[in-house]
């Protein structure tokens, strides 16, 4: 869900000029492209981007487009001639953004004649009502005008040679602190007995559905059936990472069989439809970044792949940060012998540890994550919450660059990129967690940090950067990369994506840098706290 509002001044720039601008570097004739639209063909080239558009961003309309058929189509056009190969279109959270007959549409209860202050939105703080009204009203209006956004997007995507998928959120729990919130479905409101946890309410996920109940599985399968009937998509993605918790705490092992069965049933439904539609219909799933955590939460994704139930897996953190060190090789090993496409999922936030302030990635940190995950074997980079540029990237230019670069090692090669240490934000209940930062420094005791940095630097230039809290002067600290001494090169302060504390930069002797993991060892001379660790590769000249 997105809450970014306004910026109507950019209306034409994105929906018209923006699309042209994004497309400008690959000006193939539309005819040429549309002639190649592959309905279910296997990927012809390696790598690329998947882009997820959530259930609300378009209707909240932060970029300020229109709401007629042309505006709907134009939304797709911004991704034409970029590296986006699959558009993952999400039509639901707890409610649907289209006129569902089996779930609650988002506009149920709306009085289209009334403004933001109406019963449907009464539980919201007054300042949130105008935005909420915009979402609900726009979705209603489009439906009322006979415009099916998702079918239009599917058709338009094919026109540009982009493969259209529907991505169904399997257990969304936005704003469940408020029983009356307009996001919530009738089924959820009326069936508190189907929620995961009854004895507390701490994280939102405590009020997620418990898929241990057959009624819950049936309710969700009904939407799968409706989506498969209503929309002629290339693939259906089951997004188990909104919000990742589907069973009563301690009952995840029973859940493993249930979700595998559920996935097999969805595959059966799609098998039926692909005969009718005359093309292959793929099935995908978004799951936690580490195989054991996925199983620990009831999602035995490796088994789904090995049994041939899924065609694509997206491994991903939940939301709190991009996860720069996902074990891609381990997944590839588990997927060996299958044809499953493995996508590495990026989120928009970038934090070295849980208590760090909220901040977004920069283009350079996205490049870093994408470069290393592709180099480790990911077939796709999957962008989640990277919808439009408003509020996500620092500016439009960066968003355009992202869509043209982040999906392929060749377009990333040689460009400045930053590899920061982050942490995994999703764990099974009671599973031991890792978080490497902040690291407490004790004088004369070595610290070690391992940073995956992808391919070797094209320029040979790489620097290790440490963000240090506690007013320590780290210039004279011994810093080694893969055993080699790195000399202090200056203080550095990137424009975007950085700690508030001072960052010290150390020059890595060129032959030292590995493809893959690089080890930064630090011998502190004073008590301090290391709050940030990164390797910047192919960056510009040091300011020292």
């Amino acid at each position: 869900m997105t809450y970014r509002m306004g910026r109507r001044d950019l209306l034409n720039m994105l929906s018209v000029g923006g699309a042209a601008m994004l497309a400008s570097r690959a000006p193939a004739a539309e005819e040429q492209i549309s002639g190649k639209v592959g309905r279910g063909r296997p990927p012809a080239v390696a790598h690329g981007l998947c882009l997820n558009e959530d259930n609300s961003h378009f209707y909240f309309n932060p970029e300020g487009h229109g709401f007629d058929a042309e505006a709907v189509d134009a939304w797709v056009d911004q991704y034409a001639h970029t590296q986006v190969r699959e558009l993952m279109l999400c039509p639901n959270a707890m409610r649907t953004s289209y006129g569902s007959k089996v779930w609650t549409p988002i506009w149920k209860g709306l009085d289209p004649q009334a403004g933001p202050n109406q019963p449907l939105l009464a539980s919201l703080p007054p300042e949130q009502r105008p935005g909420a009204w915009q979402f609900v009203y726009n979705a209603w209006k489009l439906d009322h005008d006979g415009i099916d956004v998702y079918q239009r997007w599917i058709n338009r995507a094919r026109k540009w040679g982009i493969s259209p998928w529907i991505s169904m959120r399997m257990n969304d729990v936005h704003c469940v602190y408020d029983e009356h919130h307009y996001f919530h479905s009738d089924f959820w409101r009326q069936n508190p007995q189907f929620r995961r946890v009854s004895y507390r309410f701490s994280p939102w996920t405590d009020r997620a559905f418990d898929y241990g109940h057959p009624e819950v599985r049936k309710y969700h399968m009904a939407l799968v059936r409706e989506l498969a009937e209503r929309y002629d998509f290339d693939g259906l993605e089951l997004d188990w990472m909104r919000f990742g918790f589907h069973f009563r705490p301690g009952h995840e092992a029973e859940g493993v069989g249930l979700l595998t069965e559920f996935t097999a049933e969805v595959r059966d439904i799609l098998n039926g439809w692909q005969k009718k539609r005359g093309h292959r219909i793929r099935l995908g799933a978004r799951v936690p970044s580490r195989p054991q955590t996925a199983v620990g939460l009831g999602m035995d994704a490796a088994t789904w792949a090995q049994r041939g139930l899924v065609d694509m897996l997206v491994i991903t953190p939940f939301w709190a940060t991009i996860e720069t060190d996902m074990p891609v090789e381990l997944w590839k090993n588990l997927l060996r012998g299958t044809n499953v496409t493995l996508a590495a999922g990026l989120e928009v936030l970038a934090r070295p540890y849980h208590d760090f302030r909220i901040q977004n990635n920069s283009l350079e940190t996205v490049r870093g994550a994408a470069a290393t995950l592709l180099d480790r074997g990911a077939d796709r980079i999957y962008l989640f919450n990277y919808m439009g540029y408003a509020g996500i990237m620092s500016d439009f230019e960066d968003y355009a660059a992202l869509l043209r670069e982040a999906g392929n090692p060749d377009t990333l090669a040689g460009k400045p990129r930053r590899h920061m240490i982050t942490y995994p934000d999703t764990w099974a209940p009671g599973e031991p967690r890792t978080q490497q930062l902040p690291a407490q420094c004790v004088p004369k005791e070595w610290n070690a940090f391992r940073v995956p940095t992808g391919p070797r630097a094209a320029s040979g230039r790489a620097v290790a950067r440490l963000g240090i809290q506690g007013a320590a002067d780290a210039k004279a600290w011994e810093v080694r990369v893969n055993g080699e001494v790195c000399s202090f090169a200056g203080m550095v302060k990137p424009d975007h994506c950085r700690p508030d504390d001072p960052m010290f930069e150390f020059l890595v002797p060129p032959p030292t840098l590995n493809r893959g993991y690089n080890l930064i060892e630090v011998l502190p001379q004073a008590e301090a706290k290391i709050v940030w660790v990164e390797m910047a590769v192919d960056s510009g000249a040091s300011p020292a």
Copy 2:
């Protein structure tokens, strides 16, 4: 290496009466057994124990046996008619315990006429010299008397239907703080340039050999060749977990290819010998407990298995604690399609976290670990440092029971067992680490711990136990297992293997307990520190 000394009073009990006692529950005629000795046959039954005898325990002689041929044979006899299916006989650390022609024998430099105060042992503190002298002198004496301990053990093991292996330590660094220590080889002393780390000496492993040097690989391959020529074993184990660190920090990725090549070369050598010997010769390896850590340290064990280079993998912690939650399923998944035997390695120590005092397992905690690791799919339980009973188990009865029970789910079923939370003690340089305990308690904030407990309780009885530091009275704390409330059942103080702080016991309602993971959730009412978490299954009546 073992430093336990004395207890000569138990001499006959173990080497004669002991063996008889251990064997008493399976009194099959020796003839019947020896007729079935399988030289290289595939395992006929599931499960069982592997037992590792290190390079020094026998010569240090804590149990007080003799040193003639009969005593050597009698050492094997204690494992007859137990669940031990493979004896993993280790003949080396940095030196060999037999008369090697390519490495330094342990007695090189010994004056057999002199006592403990002689030049070879001069670098030791005086109180350590008598024990050291015993090791060196006894090994020398046996060799001098023409007794080859390992060939006798191999022959004797076959007589009992036990498969004899040689387990070679690939990089032992005991006592490298002392360059003159009698443990060290000439090659190590003379080649400091081949050590992993030159810029510091912190853990012992900083002075381990760096297998990045061809000279180091060649030196170790020479011992492989000698062992394969000298001894007619069923299998050779490369023990990479003594001490687990084989490359310069940050150079482990280059190491992956080198160790896979090394393993392939060993396989070739064994292929040559199995033709000459007329039976299959297996190859095994001991590696870190988690696949990613193994790769991160240069040991790509999954690839060795998938390429058919190894027949057995032992996953194991290093030493600091038994690891009760090793990801067996993940390994089994990586090994699918191979015939590799997966052994779960147990160490003798039992600690919930790194700063906890040193203590040994009890029979009940070993049962717990074995029951869950077998239930998760391990083919063997591998005992390391479980040599003889002196100093290891609390008493002889427990050691005998261990050897009769711990290798098979059927013999473990229904016996009291304890499942404690421990931590993984081995990590690649710079790899993020997990350690769940101690857990800081904040009033009214839930803590969660996931405990693997293996098969369901036969009796239905299970209790959750918390060791709590800080004088908190936890009797009224809310404790739930898999969501169900557990009532306080009393204070408990096991005889062996426990925290120094008070342990609170909570009764788990019988239908609640899962096979596999169980989730303990705790709602503290006061600030405190949870230092110990366990589930005790099929335990006796509560003292409450």
